[in-house]
């Protein structure tokens, strides 16, 4: 049932990448619990505008949990503490009256802050550009049913492919590792016959690009899996490690 709560927000404000940022507190009264977290921030921004102040910049787009654009670190958790949820799917009914909510950007060496809560995640695109694809040009593909694929493999590939590229795994990792992100793509493509041809080159290229871009190493703490809004399993990291070792041994 809908009710209203009062909360205090402590939001990270930073005017540009080079200047020092700080937490600013905002009191929010009568927040409807049926509103989403981002709608609550919309209300705050409308208020700031009425006060002739600059609104809080944050990334968001589809607001239905699939584009991966929203990226807030809420009370010490990327996308908040609910499992399997993006920030845009988080609702205020998950918070209690009188609570203080700390909101930070996704922090990692590879994700520099642009402004306030917006960060630059283009490093993820660069990793995909280094090999996260099947090298097939448009046209000339054979019939879609020419190669049967076991439902089990297709389903597991789909689970890996459901990664939305939000960066929660990196933000939560104490090493700032992008292993779950890379593993999801490597795993998806190595499970499918279409991706198997380039599996060795792909694993090597993507891992090397990840290292080059300043992401840390994986020490198997499992926090990425716990915080992933799409609940992607770290068993994919195991598969990536196998793919990578196989590739190295066959060098």
């Amino acid at each position: 049932m809908e009710k209203n709560i009062n909360v205090t927000l402590k939001i990270w404000r930073q005017a540009s990448p080079k200047v020092k940022g700080e937490f600013i507190s905002y009191k929010m009264d009568n927040v409807p619990t049926d509103s989403s977290f981002l709608e609550m921030l919309d209300v705050l921004n409308e208020r700031l505008l009425k006060e002739r102040k600059e609104p809080v910049e944050f990334d968001h787009d589809c607001r239905e949990g699939i584009c991966g654009m929203c990226s807030l670190y809420i009370n010490g958790h990327p996308h908040g503490k609910d499992g399997g949820t993006t920030t845009c799917q988080l609702h205020m009914r998950r918070f209690s009256n009188g609570e203080t909510i700390v909101i930070e950007p996704f922090r990692s060496a590879a994700f520099p802050v642009i402004k306030d809560l917006r960060v630059d995640r283009s490093a993820f695109d660069k990793i995909i550009q280094s090999g996260g694809y099947v090298s097939v040009n448009t046209g000339g593909a054979q019939d879609g049913n020419a190669i049967p694929i076991s439902k089990i493999d297709a389903d597991e590939a789909m689970d890996a492919a459901s990664c939305i590229g939000c960066g929660a795994c990196v933000a939560t990792c104490k090493n700032g590792s992008a292993m779950l992100f890379v593993a999801a793509k490597v795993s998806q493509l190595s499970l499918l016959p279409q991706g198997k041809v380039e599996r060795a080159a792909r694993a090597k290229a993507m891992v090397s690009k990840m290292d080059e871009l300043g992401f840390g190493n994986c020490t198997n703490t499992g926090s990425c899996e716990a915080e992933c809004p799409k609940s992607i399993s770290i068993s994919h990291i195991a598969r990536l490690n196998r793919e990578y070792l196989n590739a190295k041994f066959t060098d």
Binding site: E2, P32, D34, S35, S36, E39, D42, E46, L49, K50, R52, K53, P55, E57, D59, H60, D61, C62, R63, E64, G65, I66, C67, M69, G84, T85, Q89, H91, R93, I114, R118, D120, R121, S122, D125, I128, Q129, Y133, V134, S135, V136, N137, T138, G139, A141, G144, N145, P148, I149, S150, K151, A154, D155, A157, M158, A161, S162, G165, Q194, G195
Partner: protein
């Protein structure tokens, strides 16, 4: 031989789509056999700007780069993977006939023409159906993990408006998987240096030199500065204009600005009235609401739509005194099954939406607002078991639970129609070229294939058809004549002038410093659109809307408040520029709806309906695509007509009853 492929002919008074001659099934083959091509060494010297990285934009950018062209690709988000195609849930149609249930290219063509209420071009739709099978093959080759059966072959489901199972899907995330497929192909070309990606950029204008599109002005959303880019051709794949309604299923940044800017530079805007109201969205719940969430149409395969049979029961449910599960089978009105026995819950979207509105208007609606109907899975859960339903729709049920805080495995979902997709868009000819030479438009941004209503699982098909299999051919027919044209300097007066105009528009908005926030004006526009240009339109309502929109435009240009600096990251300024254009498209929608004195597909004029409340077309007078030509600020646009001639299909009143 394809007729009239000369790209230099001047504008004709009656709009000519330059459809190739010959039998329907041979038009596209004939076109491809006779079109002009560009040889590999010349392709390297030609630059193409592609706006947007959704299904259409990303597939076009990747395919053009694979061919050897230099591509500059722009996206508004931080990554091409976030384009709103990603949110499409249900599936993509193709005429594979893997199920042996009688499907064929002709049947997909026919269903799409009929679904569009006979307001689409036959030749375009046939081509779409023809290339649909290539799309599935291409996506499988990219590693798109489509749903499969235990034997390892591709699975299909059925969708509204069809009696065959031709929809391919990847859980309830088909758009995501297809987009990530296109994104991977695009990423490969970016890695090779064949595509230069500009993310967090927004196109603000097209630059015309000697009557041809030769570049764009774009704003870097991080620095706030405007930048100039030149090219031999410009392709706009910037999506639809549904966000004119403020509340829609579109993403927050989805906007009509690229389309409106090219309209203002002379590209015709076609059929703006044709907007799709999707029947299965989560109902509106509060004033602070920022967007609406779609529940995939695929749910109608297993869900049954109903409202209480008795008004008292509906009232008791609205007051919270009765639960839907308390009502017995004979106390429920499965109104779609009752009205449309042949198609039942799988009628096309426009029909399902209007039927829901009709029941709610008559007082049978549920939810605390009375603006909702039930979508009930209890029968399917009984028949197939909860595990099967979870496997089919798990992510959608979870999404519903998060938003509404109710478990749809135990209680029926509540749904209500919402603005979802726009069939109208920038007018293009058979080659997907706009009325400006060298300016092409693809995907939802153009108007070409869906007529007055789009069938489910056809948007993904059209976006990818345009980008992978149509534009990479047709654009060469234009570029073959451009190989002698050198790379133009962005210091040319035309670039200078366009850049200056954009800068002064931005400064004008910054200087207003009024007392209205951008969102508050956008909401005001959205309410007018929903109330008067939404599901039920009337002459009086539309005239009222036109008056209201005029006032809203005045409010915007005198009272809007944008804080901060223009040469900085400034999301309020971004939104303000978009809302200024939503006001323009909103007016154009109302104008087109007023002009079209008939009902067809998603355009329903209450004055024109059959005795049992179905859309009543007027083929005598309105069998044309309305093409609006911009005449300058404050001037009424001119209506031009592209006649729609049906050579191969006999038009009839759509019938989903028997």
């Amino acid at each position: 031989m394809a007729k009239k492929q000369d790209t230099t002919s001047v504008e004709a008074p009656i709009i000519d789509a330059r459809i190739p001659a010959g039998p329907l099934a041979e038009k596209w083959s004939n076109y491809k056999a006779h079109q002009k091509l560009v040889n590999p060494s010349n392709k390297r010297r030609l630059d193409i700007i592609v706006i947007g990285t959704g299904l259409a934009g990303a597939s076009a950018a990747a395919s053009l780069a694979e061919l050897g062209f230099n591509v500059l690709n722009f996206c508004i988000q931080d990554s091409p993977r976030r384009a709103h195609s990603i949110a499409a849930q249900g599936g993509i149609n193709a005429a594979k006939n893997y199920q042996n249930d009688g499907d064929s290219v002709y049947r997909l063509f026919y269903d799409t023409i009929k679904g569009g209420d006979y307001r689409a071009r036959e030749a375009n739709v046939y081509r779409l159906a023809e290339v649909s099978n290539n799309i599935i093959d291409q996506c499988v080759a990219q590693g798109v993990p489509f749903a499969r059966e235990y034997g390892g072959l591709l699975d299909n489901r059925s969708f509204g408006g069809a009696q065959v199972s031709r929809t391919f899907y990847a859980k309830g995330q088909t758009g995501q998987q297809l987009l990530l497929g296109a994104y991977s192909s695009l990423s490969r070309q970016i890695g090779k240096g064949a595509v230069k990606l500009y993310s967090r950029y927004e196109m603000l204008d097209v630059v015309i030199v000697d009557g041809r599109a030769r570049g764009i002005i774009a704003r870097n959303l991080v620095t706030g500065k405007t930048e100039r880019f030149s090219a031999h051709a410009v392709v706009v794949g910037s999506g639809g204009y549904g966000n004119a309604f403020f509340l829609s299923t579109n993403a927050m940044t989805s906007n009509a600005s690229a389309a409106i800017q090219i309209y203002k530079k002379g590209a015709y805007f076609a059929n703006p009235a044709y907007a799709q109201i999707h029947p299965t969205c989560i109902p509106v719940h509060g004033e602070y609401q920022s967007k609406l969430t779609l529940m995939s149409e695929s749910l109608r395969n297993d869900g049954r739509i109903w409202v209480p049979k008795k008004k008292e029961d509906a009232e008791a449910i609205r007051a919270g005194k009765l639960k839907p599960t308390d009502l017995k089978e004979d106390e429920r009105d499965y109104y779609l099954e009752r009205r449309y026995p042949a198609f039942g819950n799988l009628v096309p979207r426009d029909v399902a939406s209007r039927a829901a509105k009709e029941r709610c208007d008559a007082g049978f609606g549920v939810g605390n607002t009375g603006l909702a109907v039930y979508l009930d899975f209890s029968d399917s859960i009984k028949r197939h078991g909860e595990a099967t339903i979870r496997a089919r729709y798990g992510n959608l049920f979870q999404m519903y639970d998060k938003i509404v805080d109710e478990n749809p495995y135990n209680t029926p979902m509540m749904i209500y129609p919402a603005i979802h997709y726009t069939m109208g868009g920038v007018w293009v000819d058979y080659e997907l070229q706009t009325s400006i030479k060298g300016l092409f438009c693809i995907g939802e941004a153009n108007f070409s294939d869906h007529g007055a209503n789009r069938l489910g699982a056809s948007a993904l098909m059209q976006g990818l058809a345009d980008g992978y299999f149509v534009l990479p051919y047709t654009i060469q027919n234009y570029l073959a004549d451009q190989i002698q044209v050198p790379r133009l300097s962005t210091d040319l007066p035309e670039f200078e002038e366009a850049d200056k105009a954009i800068k002064s528009k931005i400064e004008k908005i910054m200087k207003i410093q009024g007392d209205r926030t951008v969102d508050s004006i956008h909401r005001e526009l959205g309410l007018v659109m929903w109330d008067f240009v939404g599901m039920g339109r009337t002459k009086e309502g539309l005239e009222h809307a036109l008056e209201k929109i005029k006032e809203i435009r005045k409010t915007f240009w005198t009272k809007v408040y944008v804080p901060g600096q223009s040469v900085d990251m400034n999301s309020e300024l971004e939104k303000a520029l978009r809302v200024a254009d939503f006001i323009e498209i909103g007016e154009l929608m109302a104008r087109d709806s007023l002009m079209r004195e008939e009902s067809c597909g998603g355009h329903f004029r209450e004055e024109y309906q059959t005795p049992d409340g179905e859309a009543l077309r007027n083929d005598e007078e309105f069998s044309f695509a309305s093409c609006w030509k911009y005449n300058g600020e404050g001037e009424a646009p001119t209506l031009l007509k592209e006649p729609l001639e049906y050579e191969f299909v006999k038009r009839q009143q759509r019938n989903y009853k028997a």
